[in-house]
């Protein structure tokens, strides 16, 4: 199984540890991973700001880098969703193949690798932050608004980790307020939303906010650091890849 790793631009630049953990985890699970060297971005920053028409070159670059793989995996629900819905490079066939074969990490581990157990240990209390695009877009977890059977691909994987304790939150799937350019164009509401998410996790004594999207975590971490909070953020890859010692 030839799997390409897509590392979103801001993870590449600011959170390389998340990318390293993703790569190591997938290798441990037996995947042959290729990291195409000329990858940049999924195009979402332009598109969500209303400039989808400017993301054509970015799309073409993506298609050039990611054609010819069985699967493409990314540690970001948001970027994955954007590609699934909006990747339209000049090469239509290659674009379609990518849209149909790109997976967010926990989705890939659940639906393709069908992981049933993991060798990992993380003896801490964590709060799970659902990224909206991962949850409502990719349906990684059942949504609180719908009258439907609960499930959570992300939580199922986390529960395989030894020693972990997932705290219950007051609002289990409220948006953190990052929202791409929203985080600066609507700074006041964005920060207030983030502060309220942090409070929900603090109130339930989480030691870590855990999520499958680094963009949410970067926003929440920025707020927590400014507040002098003791809580930290972790991407699920870092936890699922944590060593058993």
């Amino acid at each position: 199984m030839k799997v390409a790793l897509f590392i979103p631009c801001y993870i590449d630049q600011f959170y390389p540890n998340v990318a390293v953990a993703t790569l190591e985890l997938l290798e441990k699970l037996g995947c042959e991973i290729v990291y195409p060297l000329n990858q940049t971005c999924c195009g979402q920053p332009m598109a969500n700001a209303g400039f989808e028409h400017l993301s054509k070159d970015c799309d073409n670059n993506f298609v050039e880098n990611f054609s010819g793989f069985d699967y493409i995996v990314s540690p970001s629900g948001s970027c994955t969703l954007h590609l699934k819905e909006h990747l339209h490079g000049t090469d239509i066939q290659a674009s379609t193949h990518i849209r149909q074969h790109i997976y967010e990490l926990s989705e890939f581990m659940t639906d393709v690798l069908k992981v049933e157990k993991l060798e990992a240990k993380f003896p801490y209390k964590v709060g799970l932050h659902q990224s909206c695009h991962g949850q409502r877009g990719l349906k990684l977890t059942q949504m609180s608004e719908l009258v439907a059977e609960p499930f959570s691909k992300t939580e199922r994987l986390l529960n395989m980790v030894e020693g972990i304790s997932i705290v219950a939150l007051d609002r289990k799937d409220e948006c953190c307020g990052f929202g791409g350019t929203f985080c600066v164009s609507e700074e006041a509401v964005s920060v207030k939303m983030g502060k309220d998410r942090v409070t929900d996790h603090t109130k339930h004594e989480a030691e870590f906010i855990v999520g499958s999207d680094v963009s949410c975590l970067m926003h929440l971490e920025g707020i927590m650091k400014r507040q002098g909070s003791k809580m930290k953020v972790k991407h699920i890859a870092e936890i699922l890849n944590s060593a058993v010692s």
Binding site: D12, Q13, C41, N48, G50, H53, L146, G177, G179, V191
Partner: protein, 479 residues
């Protein structure tokens, strides 16, 4: 990036009163002001979250909820595809019932039709129960210029009317006000005791004041929740019974509706009445679901059917299904942005996520900020009882607004340069390296007040290398 723009409330030319003719403040600026009082924001958020939670409890009581939503959605799709036939069928049946049907192309015509009825009756006052359409058409302000006084009989609407404010929510018009603020308003306008906050006492005062209004008005206006093509009748839903109080005591009943309120058959009420109240307030059904079919002996009944931009929206394939909306406001209550910015920040009669996809249709330039007042979290689409893809339409409106030139040039330049960096792998790597270098060695370049992110958030810590650098180094080690 939107700067202060002079507000003209509608594309019609009638004059507004001074209060309504204020300068428009864009959503982000208004939200910044709203967030100055964090305690108040917390209260507003919790209050509306409570309504969302009530909605959840109510919908989880019926296992077939999702099927009910699907049924509502399909009936409304059918309506939008058969509007002409349904509306003419309705007109025929309503006319046979003795209802006078009027057609209004826009807000101006709507207001003129109502004024003509009032003028003919020789009255200078009218009682009105809740109608968002009259807010959309700015009927009260129009009638005021003609010397006609309108009293809103919905309690929340009466409160905001006394304060000379627009409603901040389509179901809960005064939800932005605390009990103490209502007490102050009533003290000023109804002479209640200063400092009174007891809801029972305040409601009693409003009741006495409104009772007098109901008894003395010859003309009463109501909105319409559902108009039924096969019967020519219509249904008005209220919790206070104020619509009934108004029309049963008046000689003339005027009802006014956007043309999308039509449903084919009476049996479809079995779907919509269940969807509406559970979604709106978490009630199984509204306290009063009043069915009007014909005027009682000696009474006149008028019905005004309004377009006001709806045909135009119907002609936009990406946005037409926004007309399925039944005005429950579930999308307001669930919206994390609405809860933390307040209804007035949307500067339109219909606020919230649905307002943000309806308003640009009426006036793109004035409402270009609204589709950006969202994180696209998608909760709105999930609670929508008629399954409008609200968050997807917000995304699509953004594309339209940019193409039509309604986004500032500063933003355009920024996004264009971002696009060129991200389209070129080598440019991207150089920019990334440079950015990380600057953040590490000259943090003051980014950690200052010009950086909006930094105002209330720390920047991410700079790693010693990018993932790509690490990956290449690992490759060399392994060789």
């Amino acid at each position: 990036m939107f700067f202060v723009i002079k507000k003209s409330l509608t594309h019609n030319s009638f004059t507004h009163n001074s209060k309504m003719n204020h300068i428009k403040i864009d959503h982000a600026t208004a939200s910044l002001a709203f967030n100055k009082d964090e305690e108040h924001v917390n209260w507003h958020d919790e209050t509306l979250w409570f309504v969302r939670s009530k909605r959840d409890k109510a919908v989880f009581q019926i296992p077939e909820w999702e099927k009910l939503r699907e049924a509502g959605s399909q009936i409304k799709n059918h309506v939008l595809s058969n509007l002409h036939d349904l509306l003419t069928q309705f007109e025929t049946n309503a006319t046979e019932n003795g209802i006078t049907v009027h057609w209004a192309a826009d807000a101006q015509e709507h207001n003129e039709i109502i004024y003509a009825i009032l003028e003919k009756e020789g009255v200078n006052r009218m009682v009105k129960s809740k109608s968002m359409l009259t807010e959309e058409c700015h009927l009260n302000e129009f009638l005021k210029t003609k010397g006609i006084e309108v009293i809103d009989s919905d309690l929340g609407e009466r409160i905001v009317q006394m304060r000379n404010e627009p409603p901040s929510h389509i179901v809960l018009p005064a939800i932005h006000l605390k009990k103490s603020e209502v007490g102050e308003t009533f003290h000023k306008h109804l002479g209640t005791e200063k400092g009174a906050t007891d809801p029972q006492y305040l409601t009693e005062a409003a009741r006495l004041h409104l009772r007098d209004t109901f008894l003395t008005r010859k003309v009463a206006l109501t909105g319409v929740n559902f108009a039924i093509a096969e019967t020519g009748g219509f249904v008005v839903c209220t919790n206070e019974g104020n619509a009934d109080m108004g029309v049963h005591l008046a000689d003339v009943h005027i009802a006014t509706m956007g043309f999308e309120k039509i449903i084919p058959r009476a049996e479809h009420l079995g779907v919509f009445l269940r969807l509406l109240a559970r979604s709106a307030t978490g009630q199984p059904i509204t306290t009063f679901s009043s069915h009007f079919h014909k005027p009682r002996t000696g009474q006149q009944m008028h019905l005004v059917i309004v377009d006001n931009g709806r045909s135009k929206q119907l002609g936009r394939p990406d946005f037409r299904n926004s007309l399925k909306c039944i005005r429950c406001a579930a999308c307001f209550n669930t919206c994390p942005v609405y809860r933390r910015s307040g209804g007035h920040s949307y500067h339109t009669a219909i606020a919230g996520p649905i307002g943000s996809i309806l308003a640009p249709n009426l006036d793109m330039a004035q409402n270009a900020d609204l589709p950006f007042a969202s994180t696209l979290c998608g909760s709105c689409s999930n609670v929508c009882p008629v399954k409008i893809d609200i968050h997807e339409q917000l995304y699509k409106w953004r594309q339209v607004l940019v193409k039509e030139g309604h986004v500032s040039s500063v933003k355009s330049i920024g996004i264009k340069s971002m696009a060129s960096v991200l389209s070129s792998p080598s440019f991207y790597r150089t920019a990334g390296k440079l950015g990380r270098f600057l953040m590490k060695n000259t943090p003051f370049v980014v950690n200052n007040n010009l950086n909006v992110w930094y105002q209330q958030r720390e920047m991410p810590e700079v790693p010693k290398e990018s993932f790509r650098d690490w990956y290449l180094a690992r490759g060399k080690e392994n060789k």
